[in-house]
C-alpha cells in the first residue's frame, strides 16, 4: 500500500513547491530590498518595471543587473526531473547540481558586486568597470536562495543521506545555513574589522595598537590608580558568577528541600527580575542608595553620616547584577536540584550516611553540571550587561560600555569596538570551554524515565538555618527594590519634590479619543508598540528554530552532529554586545543590508534566544520515550508527520515556555538592541536608557513599571494556558526500552 502510493504519483509535491517558490521569487517578487515591504505601496508605485521594485526577471528584461541571468537555468533545471522517480540517479544529480550552482552564484554575485560596483579591486582589473551597482537583497532574492537550498537538500536526500529523509536533511541544512549567516558570518566580519586601517587596508599593527592599549589591560588599580576595562569586566563577571550561583543554589534548596511554608511566594519573587529590564534594578538602587536616595537621606538625617557616591562604581554594578541575575541561576539550578533522583539520596541514607553526608557526597556532586551552567550564565550575563554599568558604573568602566561608546560616541571607531568585542568574546568562550572541560565526559543524568516515587530529604539543620536566613534577607531586599521602582514612578521629582503624581504615566502613555479614532499622544507609545510587535514576531520564530534544533539533536544521528550542536550552542556564549557590534559591521552593506530595519532586531533576538529554546526542547524531548517516534515511523508516518503529530503535541509545555521566555527576553533585552535600534524602530529598553541619560528618571521608571506589568500579564496568561494543557498530559511514558 505505502510503497505503491509513491510509484503511482511520481511528481513529488514537495519538489513542485520549492520550484514554485523559486519561480515566484524570481519572476514576481522584488529582487532587491524594499522599505516597508508589507505596506505594499510598491505594488502601485511602478511595479513591476521600476528598477527599485522589479523582480529579477523584469530587471533582466530591461537589460539591467545582467549578472542575475545565470540563475535562470538552475531554476528551470528541476523541471527536467519532475516526473522522474526519487531512486533515479538523475533526479538526485540534477537537483544537487542545480541547487549548488544557484546558491553558489547568488553568494558569489552578492559579495562581488556592492553599492560601489565591484567590491574587490582585482575584479575591476580583470573584468573592467561595471558601471552598475546593487543594494541588499530583498524578499525575491531570499525566496530564490531558499528554493535553491531546499532543491539541493532534496537532491542529497534522494541520494540516500540520512535514510533519504527529506525533512531531516532540509532541517539540518536550513539551520546550518541560518546559523552560518547570522552567527558565524557577523563574527567573522567583526574579526576582520579589527584589522582594518583608516584607509581601508589590513594591518596587524593596527590591531596590536588597539589590543595592547593601556586602557584595556592596565593594572593601575594594584597601585591605587585605575585598572583596564578588561580586568574590570573579568573581575566583575567572576564575582557575579560566583555570588549568583551561590544564591541561586540557596533558593533552589529552600524551595525543594526545606519545610519552608511560603515556597510558592518565594518562587514567584524569583521570577520578578526575569521580567524586569536589567537596568531598572540599577535605577531602584539609585533611588535607595544614591546621593538623594531614601536610605542615604535617612542615615544622614539620623546619624549625620555624610552622603557619598559609594554606589557609583563596582559596588553598585555588582549589587544590581546580583539582584538581576540570581533568578536566572535559580531557574537553572532548580531543575538540577529537582532532577537529582530521590532514590539516589534514599539509597545513600540506607547506606548509613547522615543527612549532611548525603548532601555532601551525593546531592552536591550530582548538581555539579547545574552549578557550572549557572556560573557560566551569570558570568556571560554580567559580561554582556550594558544597562547597569551605564547607569551605575561611574568611573568603573567595563567592556560592554566601552564598546558602546566606541560605536556611538564621538570617537566612532569600528576597529576599536571590534577589538573590544573580541576580548569580550574570548572571555566568554574561555568560560564556555572551561565549563566543558570541568564537567568532562561524565554523565550526571539521574532521571532515568522510570517512575521515581521517592522524596527529597530535607537539608541538614546546620545548613538549613543559614540558608533560610540568607534567602529571607534576599527576598526582603528584592521586595524593597520593587516597591521603590513602583514608588519612584509616582513621585514628582525624586529627592527634590516628593509629592505623589501620575504625571510620568500621562507623559508616557496618554491617549485621546478623536473622530479619526484613538490618538496615541504619549511619548512612549511608538517604542512600546514596536517592542510588542518585534517581540511578538521573534518569539514564535525563536521557538520554532529552537525546537527543530532540539529535535535534530535528540532524535537524529548524522555525521557532524557534535559540530552542529556546538555551533548552535555557541551563540549562547556570545554576549549581546558582541552580537550587536558584529551585526552592525556585517549587515550594513549588501548582500544582506538590514540595519535600521525591524528585521535585524527580530533576527538578533532569534539567535540570542535560540539556545534557550534548544535547551528547553532537549530537556523535554529526552523525557519522551524514543519508542514513541519509532512506533509512529513503523506505522507509516514519515519523520515530518511524526514530528508534527507526536512530538509537537507532547511538547506543548516546552513550546509555551520557549515562547514566553523569548518574548520576555525580547522585551527586556538591551545589550544587543542598543546598537541595532533606529529612529523608526526604537525599542522600549533603548528609549528608557535614553531617558535615563537625560536624567529623566521619573518617566524612565514609569515606563519600566508599565513594562513589568505588561509582561506579568503575558507570563500569567501563558501560564494559564500551560496549566490547562498540562492536565491533558499524563505520565504514561515512564517505561523505557532497554
Amino acid at each position: 500500500m505505502k510503497p505503491l502510493a509513491s510509484l503511482e504519483q511520481p511528481a513529488n509535491p514537495v519538489l513542485i513547491f520549492w520550484i514554485a517558490i523559486g519561480l515566484v521569487g524570481f519572476f514576481a517578487v522584488p529582487w532587491y530590498g524594499v522599505e516597508d515591504f508589507f505596506k505594499f505601496e510598491w505594488l502601485i508605485d511602478g511595479y513591476p518595471f521600476d528598477a527599485d521594485y522589479a523582480p529579477a526577471a523584469f530587471l533582466l528584461g530591461q537589460a539591467e543587473k545582467l549578472w542575475l541571468a545565470p540563475l535562470i537555468l538552475p531554476l528551470l533545471a528541476p523541471f527536467a526531473v519532475l516526473l522522474k522517480r526519487k531512486s533515479d540517479p538523475l533526479y538526485a544529480r540534477v537537483l544537487i547540481v542545480a541547487g549548488a550552482i544557484g546558491l553558489g552564484w547568488i553568494i558569489l554575485q552578492g559579495f562581488s558586486i556592492g553599492i560601489r560596483g565591484w567590491n574587490f579591486g582585482w575584479l575591476r582589473v580583470f573584468l573592467g568597470d561595471l558601471n552598475d551597482r546593487q543594494y541588499g537583497m530583498g524578499y525575491g532574492g531570499m525566496l530564490v536562495t531558499v528554493a535553491f537550498l531546499f532543491l539541493f537538500t532534496q537532491g542529497i536526500a534522494a541520494r540516500g543521506a540520512i535514510n533519504g529523509d527529506v525533512f531531516v536533511v532540509s532541517s539540518i541544512s536550513g539551520i546550518v545555513v541560518i546559523v552560518t549567516i547570522f552567527v558565524f558570518f557577523p563574527i567573522a566580519k567583526m574579526l576582520t574589522a579589527a584589522f582594518i586601517t583608516d584607509v581601508g587596508g589590513y594591518s596587524l599593527s593596527v590591531f596590536a595598537s588597539k589590543f595592547f592599549d593601556d586602557r584595556l589591560w592596565g593594572l593601575g588599580c594594584l597601585s591605587g590608580g585605575r585598572c583596564g576595562v578588561a580586568w574590570n569586566s573579568l573581575f566583575l563577571a567572576v564575582l557575579v558568577g560566583l555570588i549568583t550561583t551561590t544564591l541561586g543554589l540557596i533558593f533552589a534548596l529552600v524551595v525543594t528541600r526545606s519545610g519552608f511554608r511560603y515556597k510558592r511566594a518565594l518562587r514567584a519573587l524569583t521570577v520578578l527580575p526575569i521580567i524586569t529590564p536589567p537596568f531598572v534594578i540599577g535605577l531602584a538602587l539609585i533611588l535607595l542608595f544614591g546621593l538623594s536616595g531614601a536610605v542615604t537621606t535617612f542615615f544622614s538625617d539620623a546619624f549625620g553620616i555624610q552622603p557619598t557616591r559609594w554606589l557609583y562604581g563596582l559596588p553598585g554594578v555588582l549589587i544590581a547584577q546580583i539582584l538581576a541575575f540570581t533568578p536566572i541561576a535559580f531557574l537553572v539550578l532548580i531543575g538540577v536540584v529537582e532532577g537529582v533522583s530521590p532514590s539516589m539520596e534514599e539509597a545513600a541514607q540506607t547506606l548509613r550516611a547522615t543527612k549532611w553526608q548525603v548532601f555532601k557526597t551525593v546531592s552536591l556532586p550530582l548538581m555539579r553540571p547545574g552549578l557550572a551552567n549557572a556560573f557560566l550564565l551569570g558570568f556571560i550575563e554580567s559580561m554582556a550587561d550594558f544597562g547597569n554599568p551605564l547607569v551605575l558604573g561611574g568611573n568603573f568602566d567595563v567592556l560592554s560600555t566601552e564598546i558602546f561608546f566606541a560605536i556611538v560616541g564621538a570617537q566612532y571607531d569600528q576597529g576599536k569596538a571590534a577589538v573590544l568585542a573580541m576580548v569580550l568574546l574570548c572571555f566568554t568562550l574561555g568560560a564556555f570551554y572551561a565549563q566543558r572541560f570541568w564537567l568532562g565526559k561524565k554523565s550526571y543524568t539521574t532521571v532515568s524515565g522510570k517512575g521515581d516515587s521517592g522524596m527529597h530529604p530535607h537539608m541538614p539543620r546546620a545548613l538549613s538555618i543559614p540558608v533560610l536566613a540568607l534567602a529571607m534577607i534576599w527576598a526582603a531586599f528584592t521586595m524593597v527594590v520593587y516597591a521603590m521602582i513602583f514608588y519612584g514612578s509616582v513621585v514628582e521629582l525624586w529627592g527634590v519634590n516628593n509629592s505623589l503624581t501620575f504625571k510620568h504615566y500621562f507623559t508616557a502613555f496618554s491617549f485621546s479619543f478623536e473622530e479619526s479614532g484613538i490618538r496615541w499622544s504619549g511619548a512612549a507609545w511608538d517604542s512600546f508598540w514596536t517592542t510588542l510587535k518585534i517581540a511578538g514576531i521573534a518569539a514564535p520564530l525563536t521557538a520554532i528554530v529552537g525546537l527543530i534544533t532540539a529535535y535534530l539533536l535528540t532524535r537524529q544521528t548524522f555525521a557532524g552532529k557534535n559540530a552542529f550542536e556546538f555551533g548552535t550552542m555557541l551563540s549562547f556564549a556570545i554576549p549581546g554586545t558582541v552580537i550587536g557590534v558584529s551585526y552592525i559591521l556585517a549587515f550594513n552593506v549588501p548582500p544582506i543590508e538590514i540595519t535600521g530595519t525591524g528585521i535585524i532586531l527580530v533576527v538578533s533576538f532569534i539567535f540570542r534566544n535560540m539556545p534557550v529554546g534548544v535547551r528547553a526542547g532537549i530537556a523535554s524531548m529526552s523525557q519522551l520515550d524514543k519508542s514513541l517516534d519509532e512506533s509512529s515511523l513503523t506505522l507509516g508516518a514519515n519523520s515530518w508527520q511524526t514530528f508534527r503529530r507526536i512530538i509537537l503535541p507532547l511538547l506543548r509545555p516546552a513550546i509555551l515556555a520557549a515562547l514566553v521566555y523569548s518574548f520576555v527576553r525580547a522585551m527586556t533585552a538591551i545589550s544587543a538592541v542598543i546598537f541595532l535600534v533606529s529612529a523608526e524602530y526604537d525599542m522600549a529598553t533603548s528609549y528608557i536608557i535614553g531617558r535615563v541619560e537625560n536624567n529623566d528618571y521619573g518617566l524612565a521608571i514609569a515606563y519600566s513599571t508599565t513594562l513589568i506589568f505588561v509582561m506579568l500579564a503575558v507570563v500569567g496568561a501563558m501560564q494559564l494556558v500551560v496549566g490547562k494543557t498540562e492536565i491533558g498530559r499524563r505520565m504514561s511514558q515512564s517505561r523505557t526500552n532497554v
Binding site: 520515550d625 512506533s631 513503523t634 506505522l635 503535541p649 504514561s732
Partner: protein, 354 residues
C-alpha cells in the same frame, strides 16, 4: 471487509550491524523466516536479537549484507516505507491520543478514507477484545489492555511482517500466559508472519513455530521448539533452553549412527550426532535421569527440595553434581542416601567437547 494478512517471508543475507566504529551487534547472520510463521529470536541480553528485529523494522540500517521482505530488497528502505509494523516493549501508545486515534494513526498514512479508517480501527479493537474502549485514553487502561491496543494498532495495517519486541515483559506472570496465547491465536487465525523477540525461553517454546537462538551477535541454532529442546546443537543452546546437566564423557566406539560412551565407568549407547571417538559432552535434561535404574551412575543425594508439584534433587557424583526432578513427592529420597541413576532412552544428547 475484515483484517487479512499479506504475510511475506523475511530473508537476511550475510547481514552485519556495527555500531560506531567497532561494536559489532550482529555478525554476518543468514536467516530465512517463512511467511505465516511465528519465529522467535531468543537469547541473553546483548546477543543482538533486538538489533536484528529493529533491522527488519527499518529502525536500524544494516552495515553489510541485504534484507528482503517478500520479493523486494528493503535493505536501504527506512521504517516509514516498509510494510512492517511493530509492537514495542513499552507499547509506545501516544499519550495525547485516544485509543481509537492510536489505532487509526497508521491507517491515516496508508491511503484509507475516513470511514474505512474508522471501520478498520473498530475491527482491530474488536479483534483484541477491546470493543467500546475507543474513547478512552491509554492512561485509563490497565497494562494488559494497553498491550492489546498496541497489538491492534499494528494489526490493522495488515503488515507483511508483524514484529514484537519483548511484548510481555511489562505484564505480571498470570497475564503473560493469557496474552501470549492470544497473540499466538491471532497470528494463527490470520496467518501472519510474526517475528518475536524474547529472553524468556519458556515463552519462546510456548508460542513459536521456529526459534532462532542468538548468542554473541551470531545465530547459535535455528529449529522448532522440540528440536532445540531435545537436540541442542551445542552446550550454550542446551543450557539456555531449559536446564541441562552437562556431563563430560568419552566416546569409546562408533558404529553407524550409534555411539558408545563411557561416563565414569558407566557404558551407554545413544545417537552419535556425527561425533567420532574421543572426549565429548553429554547434555541430559533433569527429567531424563531415571532414579534407581538397574545400571547407571552411582550418586548420593546432596539436597532434596519440595516445590509442591515435584521434588528437586541435587546428586553428588564422582565427576560433579547432577540436577534432577521427580514427580514422586510422596516417597522422597533422603539426603545422604546412595542410589544409581540411569539415562532415559531418548533425551540425552551428545555434544562436541568445547
Amino acid at each position: 471487509m475484515s483484517i487479512n494478512s499479506k504475510a511475506a517471508p523475511v530473508v537476511f543475507n550475510n547481514v552485519t550491524k556495527v555500531y560506531g566504529k567497532d561494536v559489532v551487534a550482529v555478525d554476518n547472520i543468514n536467516l530465512k523466516i517463512e511467511a505465516g510463521k511465528l519465529v522467535t529470536l531468543l537469547g541473553p541480553s546483548g546477543c543482538g536479537k533486538t538489533t536484528t528485529l529493529r533491522m527488519i523494522a527499518g529502525l536500524e540500517m544494516a552495515t553489510k549484507g541485504s534484507i528482503f521482505i517478500g520479493d523486494s530488497d528493503v535493505t536501504l528502505l527506512p521504517a516509514t516505507d516498509r510494510d512492517v509494523s511493530m509492537v514495542f516493549q513499552s507499547y509506545a501508545l501516544f499519550p495525547h491520543m485516544s485509543v481509537m486515534e492510536n489505532v487509526a494513526y497508521g491507517l491515516g498514512f496508508s491511503g484509507f478514507d475516513k470511514s474505512e479508517t474508522k471501520d478498520r480501527a473498530v475491527q482491530g479493537l474488536d479483534l483484541v477484545g477491546l470493543k467500546g474502549y475507543g474513547d478512552r485514553l491509554p492512561s485509563e487502561l490497565s497494562g494488559g489492555q494497553q498491550q492489546r491496543v498496541a497489538v491492534a494498532r499494528a494489526l490493522v495495517l495488515e503488515p507483511q511482517v508483524l514484529l514484537f519486541d519483548e511484548p510481555l515483559s511489562n505484564l505480571d506472570a498470570k497475564l503473560r500466559r493469557q496474552v501470549r496465547e492470544e497473540i499466538r491465536e491471532i497470528q494463527q487465525n490470520l496467518g501472519l508472519t510474526v517475528v518475536y523477540v524474547t529472553h524468556d525461553q519458556e515463552e519462546a517454546l510456548a508460542v513459536s513455530d521456529e526459534i532462532v537462538v542468538m548468542y554473541n551477535a551470531g545465530i547459535a541454532q535455528i529449529g522448532s521448539p522440540r528440536d532445540l529442546y531435545e537436540a541442542p546443537a551445542d552446550r550454550f543452546v542446551a543450557d539456555f533452553i531449559g536446564e541441562a546437566n552437562i556431563i563430560s564423557c568419552e566416546i569409546v566406539a562408533v558404529s553407524g549412527d550409534a555411539a558408545t560412551i563411557n561416563i565414569a565407568g558407566f557404558i551407554h549407547t545413544l545417537p552419535s550426532h556425527g561425533l567420532s571417538v574421543g572426549p565429548a559432552q553429554l547434555a541430559v535434561r533433569p527429567t531424563r535421569l531415571i532414579m534407581n535404574a538397574p545400571s547407571g551412575i552411582t550418586v548420593t543425594v546432596q539436597k532434596a527440595t519440595y516445590v509442591g508439584s515435584r521434588m528437586e534433587y541435587t546428586f553428588k557424583a564422582e565427576f560433579g553434581t547432577l540436577f534432577s526432578v521427580s514427580e514422586n513427592v510422596d516417597e522422597p529420597l533422603k539426603v545422604g542416601q546412595s542410589l544409581t541413576v540411569g539415562l532415559d532412552k531418548i533425551g540425552p544428547v551428545l555434544l562436541p567437547k568445547i
